[in-house]
């Protein structure tokens, strides 16, 4: 078992149901009964007692909610995340337990309706474990395993697995045994499986003036390890896979990528190599190779080392997910490069016009996690679906609006939309609050 690090200071806790499932066939009384037995499972194994007490002051408030429900942890519709609960504490929300109302909640103790829905009792026992101070367990037999494992049998007969019983007992003590009652068997503790915490964060320091993200005109854009990096002058913005901007404020490129020349003014292109995951920066007639955020010995290299003609400046570079090849662009020409072979494919350069619908002089190109390819220039971008070489209709669209959380004028305030996941531009939520 694993503890969350917080615990209720009392052993008699109150609970109430604030809202019931809308679409489920479970009657309200049955929902309350299942929740009662789910709490009782923890009470049977410990000194805790539970009392249903209608009203907002109850320690454990149960809700069935959809999507955004004002706790900062939105639900995601059917499947995936099912429920969550807040650990014990002094905050009003501590102990509250929320179920995704877009799930089909059922009570199926004999597991006869596989695929028909999610067993409310099994999930409730798990979530109440959090509400009482337990964290997720990697023990397969534990009810605190994070993955839904189906029904756990009749609610009124349910007993916690030994690991979970011991976990709750170490927080609140054992229940007083009735005369003649046998104490439960004790499990053998296993080695905890918890990694080291990340290193301490550095203190904040003032930043020099930074470019305006809403003006776009990025120098380079790259998909690196599933995140998109937008480079402009000596700064960059970073977008997570779920389309969240890590911050509205850009970071300083040189404080992140150690080894770029101190006097560079802008980066022409960046891409992550498909064969070894190294990251390549193009500046002028040279390129720098990075392992993660540190430059490799021997950098920079002349661009001619790639087999490109002397005098070429790589303005855009990306790996096309359709064939795994790397493409280098300069103005109205492009080259196809094989990172594994380390040379330009025969028959190149070719004219940019083969990529229908985009102008010459691109800022940069990325393959995104929706399988599409995005071409950027100035304040606009074009989308190429899958392996298509023709821009999708309806493009170009505004890069500041769809990627940088800018609306209207180039310097307008951001208006984050709903959290991403659709893979379509315009979705997502900025991590920065203001």
């Amino acid at each position: 078992y694993a503890h969350s690090g917080s615990v209720w200071p009392v052993k008699e806790l109150t609970w109430t149901v604030r809202s019931y499932p809308q679409a489920s066939g479970l009657p309200r009384d049955q929902v309350r009964t299942l929740l009662f037995y789910a709490l009782q499972a923890w009470g049977n194994a410990s000194a805790l007692t539970f009392r249903e007490a209608p009203g907002a002051d109850a320690d454990i408030l149960v809700e069935f909610s959809r999507s955004f429900h004002e706790d900062g942890y939105p639900f995601d519709g059917p499947g995936s995340t099912l429920a969550h609960a807040f650990f014990p504490g002094e905050y009003p929300i501590s102990g509250d337990t929320h179920f995704d109302d877009e799930e089909t909640w059922i009570y199926d103790p004999q597991a006869t309706q596989q695929g028909a829905g999610t067993d409310l009792f099994a999930v409730a026992v798990h979530e109440f474990g959090h509400a009482l101070g337990l964290a997720h367990s990697s023990t397969k037999e534990s009810i605190m395993m994070p993955y839904y494992q189906g029904p756990v049998g009749p609610a009124h007969l349910y007993q916690l697995p030994p690991d979970d019983a011991l976990g709750i007992q170490t927080l609140y003590g054992r229940r007083q045994l009735r005369p003649g009652e046998e104490p439960p068997a004790q499990p053998i503790p296993t080695q905890p499986r918890i990694p080291d915490l990340p290193p301490h964060r550095p203190t904040w320091q003032p930043r020099p003036p930074a470019p305006d993200r809403c003006q776009a005109h990025f120098d380079a854009i790259a998909n690196i390890r599933g995140e998109v990096f937008f480079f402009k002058k000596k700064h960059f913005w970073r977008m997570q896979p779920a389309r969240n901007l890590v911050s509205l404020e850009p970071a300083q490129t040189q404080r992140f990528w150690m080894g770029l020349p101190l006097d560079f003014e802008r980066i022409d292109a960046v891409y992550e190599r498909s064969n070894d995951s190294k990251i390549v920066f193009f500046i002028g007639k040279h390129f720098w190779v990075f392992t993660d955020t540190r430059v490799d010995p021997g950098s920079p290299h002349p661009i001619t080392d790639l087999g490109l003609p002397s005098g070429v400046t790589v303005e855009a570079a990306f790996v096309w997910g359709h064939n795994g090849k790397t493409y280098f662009f300069e103005n109205s020409h492009y080259w196809r490069f094989d990172d594994r072979a380390g040379n330009v494919d025969p028959g190149y350069p070719r004219l940019l016009t083969l990529w229908k619908g985009v102008p010459p002089g691109l800022d940069d190109i990325i393959s995104w996690n929706d399988g599409s390819t995005y071409f950027f220039k100035g304040t606009e971008y074009w989308r190429f679906l899958g392996g298509s070489v023709e821009a999708e209709s309806g493009y170009p669209r505004s890069a500041p609006q769809d990627w940088m959380y800018c609306q209207g004028s180039p310097t307008a305030s951001p208006a984050p939309g709903p959290r991403g996941g659709s893979g379509k531009p315009g979705g997502g939520q900025c991590l920065c609050s203001g």
């Binding site: 690090g5 501590s94 997570q240 992140f256 996690n369």
Partner: protein
């Protein structure tokens, strides 16, 4: 060879971050996930889920990431998640 596709990688990083196997990005500290860090996170996730610990975002690992589950992270301590919130 063996490198996961962009889609797999994006999905994997997103999932691993959401459930505490990778630290969330900090606007005040620029840090890129290293290849080794990603592999370690995948390995930890596989260990937690009872899968073979390969460190690779293989089909079984991605399928496990698609399983219905609790939305609390598996590894707590990287954030104050589910602790400091106002009702």
């Amino acid at each position: 060879a063996g490198r996961p596709s962009t889609q797999r990688l994006s999905k994997g990083v997103d999932w691993l971050t959401r459930y505490g196997y990778l630290p969330p990005p900090d606007p005040m500290q620029a840090r890129l996930q290293t290849e080794e860090g990603l592999q370690d996170a995948v390995r930890m996730m596989q260990k937690f889920a009872g899968l073979q610990e390969t460190g690779i975002l293989d089909d079984r690992t991605l399928a496990m990431m698609d399983q219905p589950r609790c939305s609390l992270p598996d590894i707590i301590g990287t954030s104050e998640l589910m602790r400091r919130r106002k009702r």
